[in-house]
Amino acid sequence: MTEELDLIRNSVSRLFKENAEKKILDQAEQGKFPKNLWKTIKNAGYHEAWYGTGTDNLKIALVIAQESGRYSIPLPIVETMIARKLTHECEIDLAEDIVTISNPQSYDNLDLRNNILSGNVKGVPFGRFASKVVLSINEKLIIAPVTNTHMATNMAGEARDELSWNDCEIFVGDTLHPNEILLYGALMRTAQICGSLQHALEMSINYSTEREQFGRPLHKFQSIQNYLAKIASSKAIADSALLRATENPSESNIAAAKACASEAAGEVAALSHRIHGAIGFTYEYSLHHITRRLLSWREEFGAETWWHKNLGEIVVDRGPDKLWDLIVS
């Protein structure tokens, strides 16, 4: 499977790289939905890569998530993947829809009676572009239409909208624990962060090779080499934690993965800016497309402290004698 995944990664990476022009990223931030790019992705089937029951589907989905993060693709690929996965046993056909998910951490006064929903949710990824949103209320899977939208964005200019319902009829499906949405969201954001860390490292290496000061390239300075090594190490930790969660997506492994990725995101964003100096702070240079995503994604679906607490509770409840089995399993 490793070799097959490498082949998939190469073709996904090529498609994203060819399409992720700076112009498209900038326009997406101004609120323009990149329709053609979405069409391309849909034709390639990326948005439903996790659909179905194949054991390798998750691995493929995470490769797509990682590469979409690497090229800052401004589209709800992972959200649609998760929504499709969660609803795959429902009798509603969502094949043509853009579907998003809502993080249970941001539910506000949701009230569900029979099939009628009222209340608000915040920070819905790409809410304004989606036709439906998947939620978990009273441990039931809910598919709600997107109606009232109050537009907001994260620090990277990605739509994170507030949705509200007032006595709205919705679809109620089978059991769905809210944790499932949270864990899947965290796992996908982890993969996106890892991809983005890769790009930050590549840009930092390139810049420090091209830029000269005091008569030599920046990378000849030991302190710059130290920053680059630190970026590579932080990324290696996040990658390893993601690898663990990919091989065995248990709650504790996902918790560890998002925690490590969120920590790395902050460290790498700061160091990449330090290496780039003033040019990295300009809108024209596209480092910010990466770093603003890193700084946003580290908070979404649980920041590191949230997952530290979650993992700590699991570990403490099991007790010291059972920690080692958790580490080596």
Partner: protein, 392 residues
């Protein structure tokens, strides 16, 4: 530049590893062995793997077939995989078993001899390492050569009848207890290509004519030594590998030294105590601290076993190993600081074998400065990583 980046990403990727049924059985077997050996030898779990010298324990491991298992069977090995060996080492370290006696010999000296040693060296020494009876020291650093290893001055001169060796080695762990030292010496004067002209030799610590002087560490313990050799003569067949190939041999040896789980498990007992204390209190900050430590530990363990997989496939993971060494180092430091933030304890130095939390912390805090330079300093690790990124 693109070429460089591609090499970089392949060098610093960590492929998944699946343990076989055999490895998992080995793990269960080993846990059994560890608890048996504890009953018989009454050893106390210690975190710092280099401070627990027990030849009884090493021999017991050896006679049960847990040492040198990756080596060819004609040299006392069992032709098993590097992943099986990884399982053994991590179980021993997590249990805090007294592994210092055989550790260096089994980890790096044996593999070096398998790769470069002559037939006689292999036949005489390897079976004894595998039976837990033969221990090794590392003869690299000198008074004026630490991180800059290529600047060593110890000379070895071929007189036709013997090698005549003059020079001083320092920080030589357990030279006063071990049987052999692998010495790095200059066999031709330094030239412009400073990594050339060095060779490795087997030194008989019990019988060759040298002086071994203790260098007590800051805890007052005797682990380090100064080894002084003055026109010391050793037989010609003690050369390891090719004359002049010492640098390449040392580099390969160091990849074994840097990537193992000993780089992040020294603080494991402290973590267990923190979990124990947290279990008795409803304290969110403590649980966060536990989660923060465990999340990193999980990542480091995955990285380290992935490198064992690379070693198994015959790759040279020196850059990935430097990442484990450097990150492991940072991790051990963090365990102390994160624990201090949530738990007000005053570390206390008590009797050597005390298992109390205060005493575990004191030991870890005082040992910590040595973790950074053992196996190469963080500065050297970062320059190796930078080289791997193509920027040096």
């Amino acid at each position: 530049m693109i070429g460089k980046i591609l090499t970089m990403s392949s060098m610093l990727s960590f492929p998944p590893v699946r343990l076989t049924e055999d490895s998992l059985n080995l793990r269960a077997e080993l846990r059994e062995f560890i608890s048996e050996s504890r009953k018989i030898l009454d050893w106390k779990p210690r975190s710092n793997f280099m401070s627990t010298f027990s030849s009884e324990f090493s021999k017991m491991l050896g006679s049960n077939g847990y040492l040198g298992i990756t080596w060819p069977s004609q040299y006392g090995g069992q032709d098993r995989s590097a992943l099986d060996r990884f399982v053994i080492t991590e179980e021993l370290l997590a249990a805090g078993a007294p592994v210092a006696a055989h550790w260096v010999a089994e980890r790096q000296s044996g593999p070096l001899l398998i790769r470069y040693g002559n037939e006689k060296q292999k036949q005489v020494i390897l079976p004894k390492i595998a039976s837990g009876e033969c221990y090794f020291s590392i003869g690299m650093s000198e008074p004026n050569s630490g991180s800059d290893l290529a600047s060593i001055r110890t000379r070895a001169e071929n007189t036709g009848q013997s090698w005549k060796i003059t020079g001083t080695k320092v920080w030589t762990s357990n030279a006063h207890k071990n049987h052999w030292m692998i010495l790095l010496a200059r066999t031709s004067p330094p030239s412009e290509k400073r990594h050339e002209g060095m060779s490795q030799f087997l030194i008989d610590l019990k019988n060759d004519k040298m002086q071994i002087n203790p260098i007590p560490n800051m805890l007052g313990q005797h682990e380090f030594n100064e080894v002084v050799m003055e026109e010391m003569e050793i037989p010609l067949d003690r050369l390891i590998g090719q004359e002049g190939n010492g640098w390449q041999q040392v580099t390969a040896e160091l990849a074994f030294e840097r990537s193992g789980p000993e780089r992040f498990l020294s603080s494991y007992n402290v973590l267990l105590e923190l979990i124990k204390v947290s279990g008795n209190q409803q304290n969110t900050e403590m649980r966060k601290a536990v989660g923060k430590i465990v999340s990193r530990l999980m990542a480091l363990r995955t990285m380290s076993i992935s490198i064992a997989g690379m070693l198994e496939r015959g790759e040279n993971p020196d850059i990935a190993a430097a990442v484990v060494k450097d990150s492991g180092n940072d991790f051990e430091q963090q365990v102390i600081e994160i624990t201090r933030e949530v738990l007000a304890i005053e570390p206390i130095c008590k009797s050597k074998n005390s298992q109390e939390y205060e005493s575990l912390m004191a030991d870890l805090i005082l040992q910590l400065p040595s973790f950074s330079f053992r196996g190469g300093t963080p500065e050297i690790m970062r320059s190796i990583i930078a080289r791997g990124l193509g920027v040096r």
